[in-house]
């Protein structure tokens, strides 16, 4: 088997479950019953893989991402990062691991502190994790994302949307992580900034040997960037395959619907009425 010669996957996930308390059905004094939003997901993410996670709103894609970087604690199943079970670790035990999985957020306007300069935004997690030579690392991170070093003195509001998103990327890669979770990071950008940020991500993944999970509702973007695609619907994996195979022969109606709903930039009078 081909699988046998590969290094062990960075993530090994099996029967992953997550329930939230359903406050709408909570009795006055009793505990709230759980409502399950991730229904036993099993998959691996290999080192160097770029995994696209797609699905409609409410499919659980953001929730799954947040479990992977342990912003949420799973309520069942196994979650192994680099061979270590991290699903049940408490905050203190997670602290040394946090550097190794980083996150880039959807909206840089709300994920970058508006009252701090770019340099201090990128430096904050470095200081928290006890890195040396913080100033040099900030410069290097800015170099990596193609922003002038002088930008460290600017405030987020002085930057364009694409530049702000690059600050978010710089903050994540400065930590020298092995894994980055990017949640809808280009959906708020213009097409040209979108293209620039995606080209940058492609370069970073290659140059820094990153493993990336890229959450998006946009299959066009995913096709360009990702080696594998996982399609989620209502907290279940509908399909999880190499990108080209999935586009060539989608195996579920849901995937087919998602693909057909993308408006390609070509005149096609029938598209709008086709189901």
């Amino acid at each position: 088997m081909v699988e046998a010669v590969k290094p062990p996957p960075l993530y090994q996930v099996s029967d992953l479950r997550l329930s939230f308390p359903d406050m709408a059905r909570k009795s006055l004094f009793g505990a709230a019953p759980g409502i399950e939003v991730l229904h036993g997901l099993s998959f691996d993410i290999a080192r160097g893989e770029v995994l696209g996670i797609v699905g409609g709103s409410g499919s659980g894609k953001t929730t799954l991402g947040r479990v992977l970087v342990r912003l949420l604690q799973p309520t069942g199943g196994q979650l192994k990062f680099d061979g270590q079970e991290i699903g049940a670790l408490d905050e203190a035990a997670l602290r040394p691991l946090r550097r190794r999985f980083q996150m880039i957020f959807q909206d840089p306007m709300s994920s970058l502190n508006p009252r701090r300069r770019v340099g201090s935004i990128i430096a904050a997690p470095l200081k928290l994790h006890g890195f040396d030579a913080v100033s040099r690392r900030v410069d290097e991170a800015l170099d990596h994302v193609g922003l002038p070093r002088a930008f460290r003195h600017r405030y987020p509001h002085e930057l364009s949307g694409g530049q702000r998103q690059r600050v978010g990327i710089a903050r994540a890669i400065a930590m020298q992580p092995e894994f980055i979770l990017a949640d809808e990071i280009v959906s708020g950008l213009d097409v040209s900034s979108q293209a620039t940020v995606l080209a940058l991500l492609e370069d970073l993944v290659r140059d820094l040997g990153l493993t990336l999970a890229f959450i998006s509702h946009d299959l066009s973007v995913i096709r360009r960037l990702c080696s594998h695609i996982m399609v989620l619907e209502s907290g279940r994996i509908v399909e999880h395959r190499p990108t080209d195979a999935l586009f060539d022969s989608p195996q579920s109606d849901y995937t087919r619907t998602l693909i057909d709903a993308i408006p390609l930039p070509d005149v096609d009078a029938d598209w709008i009425n086709r189901d």
Partner: protein, 290 residues
């Protein structure tokens, strides 16, 4: 056929600041859907706001005409302008979450305009709202009339806003990025709905969007904006076959295509930006000297 909306040489500035719109001209005929495309800050929403008379106070129109149904809005007194716009035009806004008042039921939010501004009787307005909610395929419209916005999904809220826009039979609708906040499958349903409603009512539609994919599916004509200037005005068939302006061509090349992962998503080349910036500077020089 003469245009229902005709914008002639419309220029606007930020008071005491830079130009926002540079001699914009465009027409929308009855039954026509025109896409207004550009990147953030290109002025596409600004044009929609100018047409609807809801420009921010800080923006000043310095020249031009906005002809709506044969009348130049900019020559009217404010009260008369508002009355005319209110009677003939409507908006489908971008964000279905913020466009509805969260503390009021859906029904009155649709009928207020009919009753308060257009003088309809309450019962007639209610009947009209119900009819429109049915037209936008909302299940159980009577229940939705009594519901609060938080009880509806994003797609349902956008349907309510579409129904609301068409309620008073406007002759012109400005749709400002109406599907940007929606999922791709919901987006398709909403685009279909807007196209159906537009065809049924014969409305002139100005469709503001940054997505050329959406334009190709719903518009008959388009205007491409850069820095508040129309750089290309074309029929969609001609445009998608071969865009005439290098900037619009670059914008099209930046639009993703899942069918061909290597095509699409190309950053707009710096040389193209430099050239179009030079065009804008040349225009500004001519403007100041003329």
């Amino acid at each position: 056929m003469s245009a229902f909306l005709s914008i002639r040489n419309l220029s606007a500035v930020l008071k005491g600041g830079p130009p926002l719109l540079r001699s914009v001209s465009l027409d929308v005929a009855a039954g026509e859907v025109r896409g207004l495309v550009g990147e953030s800050g290109a002025g596409k929403s600004m044009i929609g706001k100018a047409v609807l008379g809801i420009l921010p106070r800080a923006v000043e129109v310095v020249e031009g005409e906005i002809w709506l149904d044969g009348v130049d809005l900019l020559r009217l007194k404010p009260t008369e302008r508002r009355r005319r716009i209110g009677a003939t035009a409507a908006l489908i806004p971008q964000d279905p979450m913020t466009a509805l008042n969260p503390s009021r039921r859906i029904g009155p939010q649709i009928t207020d305009r009919l009753v308060d501004i257009l003088g309809w009787r309450r019962a007639a307005a209610d009947a009209r709202a119900l009819e429109l909610l049915e037209q936008v395929h909302i299940p159980d419209p009577a229940r939705v009339m009594r519901a609060y916005p938080h009880e509806l999904s994003g797609g349902m809220r956008q349907r309510v806003l579409i129904a609301s826009a068409f309620a008073a039979e406007p002759k012109l609708i400005v749709a400002d990025e109406p599907t940007t906040a929606l999922d791709v499958t919901v987006q398709k349903q909403i685009l279909r709905l807007i196209a159906q409603m537009q065809a049924r009512h014969g409305t002139a539609l100005l469709f503001v969007t940054h997505d050329l994919g959406v334009v190709s599916k719903i518009c008959g004509t388009l205007s491409v904006l850069y820095a508040g200037k129309v750089v290309e005005d074309a029929d969609v068939r001609d445009f998608f076959a071969a865009p005439a302006h290098p900037y619009s061509a670059a914008l099209l090349a930046a639009t993703p295509r899942y069918t061909d992962p290597k095509a699409g998503l190309n950053p707009v080349p710096a040389s193209v930006i430099k050239a179009v910036d030079a065009e804008i500077s040349a225009f500004d020089r001519g403007w100041r000297n003329g």
